[in-house]
Symmetry: none
DNA sequence: AATGAATGAGCATTCATTCAT
DNA sequence: AATGAATGAATGCTCATTCAT
């Protein structure tokens, strides 16, 4: 009975071993630059073995994506669920959290963001697609919850929280990709952190209601 | 001399003819889906001829990119230079202008944004690269100028205008790509327009100084 | 001793179980379309297990072939040994018998005939090869015996009986494959049965001696 | 104006050059044994070039098939249209003609016959498929015409001429493949020629009406 | 200027087969 | 006896790019 368990564990480890190798290779060569063979080599396995664990190259990439989404969601949940912070402070903390995700593995995040907006998405098996969809939705909901809370507490203007989450997510993704692009066009120092911080600050200010002493709400 | 001129004009026309074909093909098939042959076919030319006008597929794509940047810059300039608008109104108008660029040719804009954040950028000839850089810089500067003006007029908080421009650009690119991605994951109605509008409104609110009754500035 | 026997019996059953599965899979997918894995799946066994019973895919296929040959030989023997029929009638009955073999499992017969005339034959182990050879020889001899009998009875012309058997066999195989091919090129109704019947009739007429002038009638 | 012609001619030569190489390679290695690369090598071209002239491996093989069908049809026409022969003699001559086709290039004929009865047929482009179909039909019709003539002349029994042609073709194909198979199982001297001759003789006898002195027809 | 023709260099994927357990 | 896991070895096909004409 321990045998089955061990088998199971080993299988999971193999899978992770492949994902790790894929992460390294995709990071350095991009999706199309990375050949299945090169990933297999990095994983010290044969290409055929990869196909025992992943249906094809796209799905391997998508699985990586999924893992990143999980990390992201965890971070978002941490912020969102932090009882000690006011909504306004959570917005700020969210910015820091997102930055940490970036800093943890910039290249793979970039790849993931590129993947999310690429043609490859179309050919995924519906199973994986719905998992990714679910992960994305969870992330969005987590962010939206922060705004929701602020709105309920009457410290934020009553905008659609999902739309606000879309904006936060977009500005994050946009800045990451833009930084990457800028770096290619014109290598310079990391501008992401301060800009992201500024963006979150502006968003916070933009949604906060002025502390109206007399109860008359702003626009 | 007239001959040389005609030659020159014809050459430019040929070039444009190819770019137009490329735009159509890239739009419908994406970068990797579009083969040089298919573009040539669309342009009613032979593949070899394309190489007389563009060094390779990447540079053809990049040139398309440049054209789009020009359209963009023009739009931005229009808004930025519109004397009749206050900075706060310009922010709003900028959002509309960006949306118009999207609406004019969504697919090619998406492609361009994807290209901007892709690996392909790396292998461009330095000449094109610097042209694109210049176009991007111009766009950024145009946006930044709006903020600059607001800051000088003391209606905007004194943030770094370039950083603000980065944020505007990022939120725009992010939303466009995110909309595209959302549509793949979960086809639904166009959410870009209202969300972009909201984003610009929030940014405006976020950077505007509160109308201080007594001249004492806020934070 | 009983144990060894049981073992033996079980082993034979397993083998047959695999052969049955293989028959189904080869029938529906053809030789190259059928993967070892798909056969194993059909047999509810692992691919590795198949290799305990058959040296490789070719030999598995060849064994199927052998079984078909056995069925065929039995049918031929029945006709050939039927004391109540005159040689001329046996030719006719042979045609019916061959058709029955076809009708019993057309697809597998087609596969077998294709296999018999394929490159795969070359790589068989000599043991199986000689078994197949023996089966074929037996079939041929069975058919030849009918002609032999007619010749001895002076109702058939004195042709080489083996050559006649080759002809019968070839026309059968040829018609079956040709029907299959015709069906692909131009789907139409089953023409095999009447044509095979006609072929056998013609062959019979072709080898029969004319009823000799001395009043002893032919069939 | 001569240029276009020369181009055309060169193109046809290239095509033939590839077909010739393919013939050699398919002959010696069979369809699946022959790789596109090996054919290209034999033709002293790159694999990619083959694809300029043939859509894929199947169609290259099919084109070979077509050429063989043409040769065959020509031979059949010669016999069929030979005014100096009586139908009975034509049957005999047809046997010799078919044998000549075999002798001209046994291996490729075998391949073609195998191809005709293989799974590959299914995936052909409809254009080629219909060409092959047409070639086959022509061959069949040519053979049938001989029988038709005999029937009209009242020297042959009134069987369906197409069915008779099917039989002739099948016995030919069957014998060729059977000889090949026999040779694999048991290398021996060429038995095809005498057996084919015998088969044709038997068929002739089988369809000929007995020279009824009194006009009373046989069965 | 234009192109027909050719190709080098890749690459994802399949599958029969093996072997430690 | 049975198999889960692994893989070596292939291979058909694509496509950006070149170059003689």
């Amino acid at each position: 009975m321990g045998i089955a368990e061990r088998r199971e564990r080993e299988k999971r480890m193999r899978r992770q071993q492949i994902l790790d190798a894929a992460k390294r290779v995709f990071s350095s060569k991009g999706f199309s630059g990375a050949t299945v063979e090169s990933i297999a080599e990095e994983a010290e396995l044969s290409p055929a073995t990869l196909y025992l664990y992943f249906k094809n190259k796209d799905e391997l990439y998508a699985s990586l994506n999924l893992q990143m989404l999980e990390v992201l969601n965890q971070k978002i949940q941490e912020v969102s669920g932090n009882q000690g912070l006011a909504p306004g402070e959570k917005i700020k903390a969210l910015g820091e959290a997102l930055y940490q995700v970036y800093e943890f593995d910039p290249l793979i995040l970039i790849n993931v963001l590129q993947f999310q907006s690429s043609e490859a998405l179309r050919d995924l098996s519906s199973e994986l697609l719905s998992e990714i969809k679910e992960g994305s939705t969870t992330a969005l909901r987590g962010i939206a919850k922060i705004f929701q809370q602020g709105i309920e507490e009457k410290t934020f203007k009553p905008h659609n929280p999902i739309a606000l989450a879309d904006i936060v997510w977009s500005v994050f993704a946009g800045l990451v990709l833009w930084e990457e692009s800028k770096r290619t066009l014109n290598p310079e120092k990391n501008f992401l952190r301060p800009t992201l911080r500024l963006a979150m600050e502006i968003i916070r200010k933009g949604v906060e209601l002025p502390p109206s002493a007399n109860g008359i709400p702003g626009t």
